[in-house]
């Protein structure tokens, strides 16, 4: 065998198995939100074994995910903040929710245990506006008659990196406080009037752990696994609620999903048992895909997740969507991809 034919043979030997593997496992790529990343990775792992679809998901942030799906460099994008109907039309995109998450407020006050402190939305907003600055403020002690709250400065901690978590948190504060809505607003990053910023959930959790008197917000999954002291919150019905699965499910069931792009508002729902800060996360897929097979694989993947992924999501402290929402999403797929 001379050198040239050897090289040819070697390169053929290298490429052929690769092609074969691609034919076996359909590959799809996605990018975007960091918040649902753990559950997407788990679903991808399970779906690969079950239906042979290999999903490569990169958690690069919602904004970057939207950019990538607009440029069609990935098969699906993921975002925590839903796009508006006209943005979807303009980008030829279909939006649907996959799973929900909840936020909790975590505190570091000497002597205060998990689920002990009671707070309300307006008090939270005033804390993050820098208007309530001491833990023994009359507004806080009035709703916590049994607790000995110290005369300690409140140190609010927020997400410094642009994040869907901040979008959900500021949506809640804007829903319960007109002043927050007017002065700060809602977004993946906003201008926080008080406090200090940290990077990622772990940064906020670390700051709260380090600083006496600190209060921050993280995803419930994160607070659970790291045993942080969460607070009770008063919901729209006026009841003080502990952050648990039942309260999250109640909020999901109460929401109205029949809005364009499934951009349901699950925040501050009226149910008597509902946890006030629950939000869905979304997937964006092109309605005019360049590669129909890959587009079908994306739908097949999420269809499998809807049917089989709820337990996996619950294990990771996410909240599965109600069955009716799953079916509504499937109907939207059929409508957009009937051909």
């Amino acid at each position: 065998m001379d050198r040239r034919s050897f090289l040819l043979g070697a390169s053929a030997a290298l490429t052929l198995p690769a092609l074969g593997a691609q034919a076996q496992a359909a590959q799809i790529t996605g990018a975007g939100a960091t918040f649902p990343n753990p559950v997407y990775q788990k679903w991808a792992e399970a779906a690969r074994a079950a239906i042979g679809i290999q999903v490569n998901y990169q958690s690069v942030g919602s904004g970057a995910g939207i950019n990538q799906i607009r440029n069609r460099t990935v098969d699906f994008g993921a975002t925590d903040a839903p796009l508006r109907a006209e943005q979807l039309t303009e980008g030829n995109l279909l939006q649907f929710p996959t799973v929900m998450g909840s936020l909790v407020a975590i505190v570091n006050i000497p002597g205060i245990q998990d689920d002990a402190l009671r707070l309300t939305g307006p008090i939270l907003a005033d804390i993050f506006l820098g208007k309530i600055t001491r833990w023994n403020d009359a507004q806080i002690t009035a709703i916590n008659p049994g607790l000995a709250l110290p005369n300690l400065a409140i140190a609010p901690a927020y997400r410094a990196d642009g994040s869907g978590t901040t979008f959900v948190w500021t949506s809640y504060l804007a829903a319960v406080s007109q002043e927050w809505k007017d002065r700060v607003g809602t977004g993946t990053s906003v201008r926080f009037p008080a406090g200090t910023g940290a990077r990622g959930n772990e940064g906020v959790a670390g700051t709260v752990r380090n600083v006496r008197g600190a209060i921050g917000y993280v995803e419930n999954a994160y607070a659970m696994t790291n045993r942080l002291a969460a607070t009770q919150l008063r919901n729209k019905a006026g009841n003080f609620i502990k952050a648990d699965h039942k309260a999250f499910m109640s909020a999901a069931a109460a929401a109205d999903w029949s809005v364009p792009g499934f951009a349901a508002n699950v925040i501050d729902q009226a149910g008597p048992e509902s946890w006030p800060i629950v939000a869905p996360t979304f997937i964006l897929i092109p309605t005019n895909p360049t590669d129909a097979a890959r587009s079908a694989s994306v739908r097949r993947f999420f269809d499998w997740c809807f049917a089989n992924g709820s337990q996996l999501a619950t294990d990771l402290e996410y909240i599965p969507l109600p069955e009716s929402v799953h079916n509504a999403v499937r109907a939207a797929w059929r409508q957009s991809f009937s051909a």
């Binding site: 690069v60 942030g61 919602s62 904004g63 970057a64 939207i66 950019n67 607009r70 440029n71 400065a153 140190a155 410094a160 990196d161 642009g162 994040s163 700060v184 607003g185 809602t186 977004g187 993946t188 990053s189 906003v190 201008r191 926080f192 406090g195 200090t196 910023g197 940290a198 990077r199 940064g203 670390g206 700051t207 380090n210 600083v211 008197g213």
Partner: protein, 313 residues
């Protein structure tokens, strides 16, 4: 015949080699130019929307799409300057010790340790700063300073506020440790270049070690020392990861050095993932990159200028 052929091919080889090297050199120039131009063009919408006020405005409100570079430029310059103030005396001590005082067997290990500091990845400094230094500052250092110095007139306001542990001061402290090896190594190298005969003459006249340092070594090396400091400053300006961990990341200018702030590099790193293509926010971030480029360029150019005599040797 063979020698002639060999000579001809050798001449051709020379030419090819020279061309390749030239291309490599020009490539760097083109790359640098392209970077600057690209950053400027991408940042142009921000400069157009806000004008020169972009540089001074302290707004950073993504919800209302009001962006300004004031806070992050302030944070960048203050942390870098504070870091230099902390690092230079320490670096001077190290260099002085290594060149004049240390017994010969100690010079190499200490010198190597200093150089190894430069090889520690910045994320390590960031995590160390966040998990070790910030809590230590929050619980032990800052409360004492706030209680004792924060009450003083005139300078007191610099040391007030809640002890978060993170903030401009902590960021500057971490930066000081990061740039220390660069400054110390430069100082040591230039101190060693002082001709022994100068120092020996001074000793011969009865000068003490400190007098030799003050009267001979420092005047002789002054310009190169400043150049080395500028080198450290350049690094401090652009450092991203370590600063992001400990600066507190707030888009406000606080009078207190313990207050949270922001630097250009950390703001860009934090906000990039959530900026959509074509948005004013992305343009503003790229415009910030352009400003940082100019800042670092100015500092490095100054250092090259001051170090020129040493670089020629």
């Amino acid at each position: 015949m063979p020698p002639k052929a060999a000579r001809r091919s050798g001449r051709l080889g020379d030419k090819v080699f020279a061309l390749l090297c030239q291309a490599a050199g020009i490539f760097v120039l083109i790359l640098l130019g392209a970077l600057i131009i690209e950053l400027f063009i991408a940042g142009l919408p921000a400069f157009r929307a806000f004008g020169l006020a972009f540089v001074t405005s302290t707004d950073w409100d993504p919800v209302r799409e009001l962006f300004g570079a004031g806070v992050s430029i302030y944070g960048t310059i203050v942390t870098a300057m504070l870091a230099i103030t902390m690092a230079v005396p320490l670096a001077f001590g190290i260099a002085f010790f290594l060149t004049e005082l240390a017994p010969p067997w100690m010079r190499r290990p200490v010198g190597t340790a200093i150089e190894l500091l430069a090889a520690v990845p910045s994320i390590i400094y960031g995590m160390w700063g966040f998990f070790v230094i910030a809590p230590a500052f929050a619980q032990h250092v800052q409360p004492w300073i706030i209680d004792n110095i924060g009450e003083l007139p005139l300078i007191g306001f610099l040391f007030q506020g809640p002890p978060f542990g993170t903030g401009l001061f902590t960021a500057a402290f971490i930066l000081a440790i990061m740039i220390l090896p660069f400054i110390a190594a430069t100082m040591r190298d230039v101190f060693m270049q002082v001709p022994p005969v100068f120092k020996e003459s001074a000793y011969g006249l009865g000068a003490t070690t400190w007098e030799v340092m003050k009267g001979v070594v420092i005047p002789y090396t002054r310009v190169s020392v400043v150049g080395g400091i500028m080198l450290g400053l350049g690094r401090a300006l652009g450092e991203t990861m370590a600063v992001t961990f400990v600066i507190g990341n707030a888009n406000r200018i606080s009078a207190s050095l313990f207050g949270p702030g922001n630097t250009i590099a950390s703001l860009v790193a934090l906000e990039f993932g959530e900026s959509e293509i074509g948005s004013l926010k992305l343009a503003s971030l790229l415009a910030l990159g352009f400003i940082l480029f100019l800042l670092s360029f100015a500092v490095l150019a100054t250092s090259r200028y001051l170090l020129r005599s040493r670089l020629k040797v």
